[in-house]
C-alpha cells in the first residue's frame, strides 16, 4: 500500500545541536515530497519541497532535506536548532502525475536549553 512514514513520534534535542527528522515513503514512482512545520495552534507552513533535480533541497529557517531514491527517504535536517524550532513537523507526499496529497503522522520536536 502507498504510504508515508515518520518513524519518530517525538524527538528532543538541545538548543544548538543538529537535527534530523526521518521520512520514508512507499510509492511506485518518485513522488513530490514536502516538509511542513506546525506550531501549536497555528497553520501549516511549508519548509521545503522536492520535485526533481538536485537531491539536496534548501528551505526556509535554515532547514534542508535530502532525497535518497535508494532508501525511499526524504529526511529533514538542520545543523543548529533554535528554541523557536520546537513544533510539529510533517512530511507529505504527492504522487507524481496525480493530485493526491498525503501527510505522515508527524514528529513532535522539543528543544531544551
Amino acid at each position: 500500500a502507498q504510504s508515508v512514514t515518520q518513524p519518530d513520534i517525538h524527538i528532543t534535542v538541545s538548543e544548538g545541536a543538529s537535527l534530523e527528522l526521518r521520512c520514508n515513503y512507499s510509492y511506485g514512482a518518485t513522488p513530490y515530497l514536502f516538509w511542513y512545520v506546525q506550531s501549536p495552534g497555528q497553520g501549516l507552513q511549508l519548509l521545503l519541497k522536492y520535485f526533481s533535480g538536485d537531491t539536496l533541497v534548501q528551505g526556509i529557517k535554515g532547514f534542508e532535506a535530502e532525497f535518497k531514491r535508494s532508501q525511499s527517504s526524504f529526511n529533514l535536517r538542520k545543523p543548529s536548532v533554535h528554541w523557536s524550532d520546537a513544533a510539529e513537523y510533517f512530511c507529505a507526499v504527492a504522487p507524481a502525475g496525480g493530485n493526491q496529497f498525503y501527510f505522515g503522522t508527524g514528529t513532535s520536536l522539543t528543544v531544551i536549553p
Binding site: 515518520q6 513530490y32 504527492a94 493530485n99 501527510f103 503522522t105 508527524g106 513532535s108
Partner: protein
Amino acid sequence: EAGVAQSPRYKIIEKRQSVAFWCNPISGHATLYWYQQILGQGPKLLIQFQNNGVVDDSQLPKDRFSAERLKGVDSTLKIQPAKLEDSAVYLCASSSRTSGRTWYFGPGTRLTVL
C-alpha cells in the same frame, strides 16, 4: 493572490448537533481537499474534489459526513450528527496544475464537540 479562506475559525457544539464548514479555494484552483487533523496526529484526507466531482472520498465517514462543491468553486463540509471523536481541526486546501505543483492550505476550523 488571496489564500484559501475558511469559516468559521472556531466552533463549539454539543454531540449529536450538526455543523457546517465553508471553504473558498484560491481562484482558478480546480482541486479542493478537506482534511481532518485530530490533536497530535497528521492531517487525514477526508475528500478530494476535481472541479465539482469527487475524486477520492474513501476516508470520509459517509454515515455522518457530507461535502459538496456544487459550482466547482467553494465547498461545504457537514457533520450530522457530531460525535465527541469529531473534535479536530478541519483543513481545506486547493491546488492547480498551473500553480507549480503547490498545495495551499487554509487556516483551518477548530471544532470542539462537547
